[in-house]
Symmetry: C2
């Protein structure tokens, strides 16, 4: 049996802001996503959301501050807290969140992605 | 605001088979654990469990096979599946699982660890 190799999974797609579900734990997803530029400010009313940077640098901007994460650094955005992910260069991120979570939360819009197993 | 740095957290403890909770997402934990040698064979009747190797090499032995994970590789053990983590050298692992999950599952015994935030 083989494990799931994060680097191999990341090599299988190139589009930005489109999370890929690579594993499930009960009703939660492990998702990988490549990002660059500014995402839409949004919140998730019903769930916390974990960001773990695999490669690159991610800033999560809040209404009252921000956190910047490098490789091997993680942050949990609490439910209901508005946040805007921003990355100058391309950054690869691992997300852990309920499988029903929609990437754009309450904001919706053109960046909304379907749940996509990979 | 600062993120949670996995390497910095790992540098704060040295004991084996004693997971440290470094973040929570809803009622789930992100735990870091250092392992070496053979753990007790056990299962978790009520939950899946995710293993992500940070550093080193982990084999998870099942009754009908095994999977070996290196850095950046993950595997989800389904609920109810007997598994025995084994590592010849010291290995650092990230776990995602419900906060109520006990490390030794149905087996219990002296390796059972209290939930320990770090």
């Amino acid at each position: 049996m083989r494990g799931i190799n994060i680097s191999e999974k990341l090599a299988q797609f190139s589009e930005h802001w489109s999370p890929k579900t690579v594993a499930t734990i009960n009703d939660y997803d492990v998702r990988l996503v490549k990002v660059q530029g500014e995402f839409v400010r949004h919140n998730h009313a019903d769930t916390d959301e974990l960001f773990l940077v695999i490669d690159g640098q991610l800033t999560i901007r809040f209404d009252d501050g921000e956190v910047t994460l490098g490789p091997g650094e993680l942050h949990v955005v609490p439910r209901g807290v508005y946040h805007q992910p921003i990355s100058e260069g391309e950054t690869s991120i691992l997300l852990f969140e309920p499988s029903v979570t929609v990437n754009t939360g309450d904001a919706g819009g053109e960046l909304t992605a379907e749940r996509t197993p990979l």
